[in-house]
């Protein structure tokens, strides 16, 4: 301990962390609504996502990639990526991603890696954090591995989850 250390009064330290003192914490919303964009990259991911889209989210947009594995990322502009809203209406990636705080890619199979790269690229250019969620299970085997590999190059965070219930758990935790 350095010679400049000056003990603080007990009332400033010990009491500060009691349950009684916790009552005096300032009550206010300490964050504004986040803008989250969730992309399902394949059929199972889309079905898992559709199961929760009606939940009371705070502005999250759920989108399905309609592309096939032939997408060439280098040759695909954002607005050219085939995307759909949960009701089936088409969506424009360039519009959807503008102003987003976080992008979540969900995959169960590794399909549409090219589309994932387009989404991740657009997010990167806008300094938007990209998280990847690979749905796996005990029998997923190569599919799970493919899902992980497809998203690894683009995701700043990658989660391999064994059950689809993690999707709402994660989105709730992130205030999506």
């Amino acid at each position: 301990m350095s010679g400049s250390h000056r003990p603080t009064l007990l009332s400033n330290c010990t009491l500060a962390t009691t349950a009684a003192e916790a009552r005096f914490r300032v009550e206010y919303p300490n964050s504004r609504t986040r803008s989250s964009r969730i992309f399902a990259l394949d059929q199972r991911a889309a079905e898992a996502m559709y199961a929760i889209t009606e939940d009371p989210w705070q502005g999250a947009h759920f989108l399905t990639v309609l592309a096939n594995d032939d997408i060439e990322p280098e040759a695909t502009e954002a607005s050219q990526l085939p995307l759909a809203h949960p009701d089936g209406t088409p969506a424009d990636l360039a519009v959807e991603i503008e102003g987003a705080d976080v992008v979540v890619l969900i995959s169960s199979s590794g399909r549409n890696a090219g589309a994932a790269e387009v989404v991740a690229r657009e997010a990167y250019h806008r300094s938007i954090m990209t998280a990847g969620l690979a749905l796996s299970d005990l029998n997923a085997g190569e599919k799970a591995e493919a899902a992980v590999n497809a998203m690894r190059p683009f995701a700043s965070v990658l989660v391999v989850a064994r059950d689809e219930e993690f999707i709402p758990a994660m989105l709730n935790a992130l205030r999506a």
Partner: protein, 428 residues
């Protein structure tokens, strides 16, 4: 963010609570073996999962852990006489064996059999390694004895300490799987702490403060991989296992011993932070063991005669603002353990998670909460026994490794992540 009711579900561990029921499915650390050093030694008060207990070692070397209070008039048996294979209440001489069975009620006729009708609730207490472990659940679901590597290597290869942490167990445990804080809060110690310094991996840590995280579910819990840039396009991986409900192991550095924690609830506003350090293939050196006793690494100094850290909230953890300004420490608090404890206790006795704003790099924490919540509700609603009880789940190691960029860290390190006696470990 967690809703209030979920936060309560995961943080409350008293008898009758769902999370309390979950903890009661495991062998958990109860005492250091050194707290009961010899037969007929002084009994020790123990509070675990909101239950006041007394631990003792009888004349025959048997360990007991039972209700702290005499069934007669409610006197604390901490005042008891530990003699002739039992703990005797000093008030009226009632005596109990290590199973909590009353064996003598001096005021009653010997032949009455009255004492057979008196039994204190008792839990098994077994010694494995430096630790006395207990299982506070029903005998019908008692798991196999624990096989954690730190507790099963030779005594000269391991060191265990514990400290009282004045906050709920969950916020303490979440610090153990929050890999992203290391580059900030603990950055000062990597080049100075005798139990960390000199490892090549430290340079990767310090050079790349934006690691990429991969969280992978396993049978028993999680692997949390933190990836940083290394030479020639390769990646430096630090892989932290988390095994349910509250075991973690920090990835090793060089040839230093590797370490980790158990977090065990005392009550809802206090927990034990158990800290172990071991090397799987060699004895700890005298210098290493002394450094651990001196509070280096993940250990700490104590208020003499207690398990309360010397740096505690009564003295503002001996905050040193000058050291903080100089950069000796990032937070001004000395030592890894107290850097963590000071901040975790500052959250309040039970962190209000309705106010937090998690980000994507917190996915290890998010997944651990998800696993705990699933296991708690499955146990409560269906009686499903939780993961982490199986000895195979406990045979894990942390890993530090440099891998080619295209490698899946779990697949590439699968063997290294599995503990086996005498097996060389993977460290950088």
């Amino acid at each position: 963010m967690l809703r209030k009711e979920v936060n309560e579900l995961l943080t409350q561990t008293d008898p009758g609570t769902p999370m309390g029921a979950l903890f009661r499915q495991y062998w958990i650390p109860a005492l250091l073996a050194s707290e009961l050093p010899e037969d007929d030694c002084a009994p020790v008060r123990v509070k675990l999962l909101g239950e006041r207990l007394i631990a003792f070692r009888d004349s025959d070397g048997r360990y007991g852990l039972m209700d702290e209070f005499c069934a007669h008039r409610g006197v604390s048996l901490w005042f008891g006489r530990n003699e002739e294979s039992g703990l005797r209440c000093p008030y009226h001489g009632w005596k109990y064996d290590v199973n909590g069975q009353c064996t003598e009620v001096p005021s009653e006729p010997d032949a009455s059999g009255f004492c057979e009708k008196i039994k204190l609730r008792a839990y098994p207490l077994i010694k494995i390694g430096d630790v006395l472990w207990t299982h506070m659940g029903g005998k019908e679901n008692r798991p196999p004895e624990p096989v954690w590597e730190f507790a099963t290597v030779a005594p000269e290869q391991t060191f265990t300490s514990k400290r009282w942490q004045e906050c709920n167990w969950l916020q303490a445990m979440e610090g153990g799987i929050d890999s992203s804080h290391v580059s900030f809060l603990h950055s000062g110690g990597l080049n100075t702490d005798p139990l960390f310094r000199g490892a090549k991996g430290n340079q990767y840590n310090l050079a790349d403060k934006k690691p990429v995280f991969e969280v992978t579910e396993t049978e028993g819990g999680l692997f949390i991989g933190a990836r940083r840039n290394a030479e020639e396009g390769r990646h430096y991986w630090r892989i932290t296992p988390w095994i349910m409900p509250s075991f973690t192991m920090v990835p090793p550095r060089g040839d230093h011993p590797q370490h980790g924690h158990f977090w065990v609830p005392i009550d809802d506003e206090n927990c034990w932070a158990w800290s172990y350090d071991y090397h799987p293939t060699r004895a700890l050196t005298g210098a290493e063991r002394q450094a651990m006793r001196d509070g280096h690494g993940i250990h700490n100094e104590y208020v003499p005669g207690t398990f309360r850290p010397l740096q505690n909230k009564d003295n503002d953890y001996m905050m040193d603002r000058e050291a903080q300004k100089r950069g000796d420490t990032f937070s001004g608090i000395k030592g890894i353990a107290m850097q963590d404890a000071s901040l975790q206790e500052s959250m309040g006795p039970i962190c209000d998670r309705t106010k937090e704003n998690l980000v994507s790099t917190d996915n290890g924490i998010i997944m651990a909460r998800h696993r705990l919540r699933k296991a708690v509700t499955a146990l409560r609603d269906k009686g499903t026994l939780p993961p982490g009880r199986n000895p195979e789940h406990q045979k894990v190691r942390s890993v530090a490794a440099v891998l080619e960029a295209d490698k899946n860290y779990v697949e590439a390190c699968r063997d290294a992540l599995t503990a086996a006696p005498g097996k060389q470990r993977t460290s950088v």
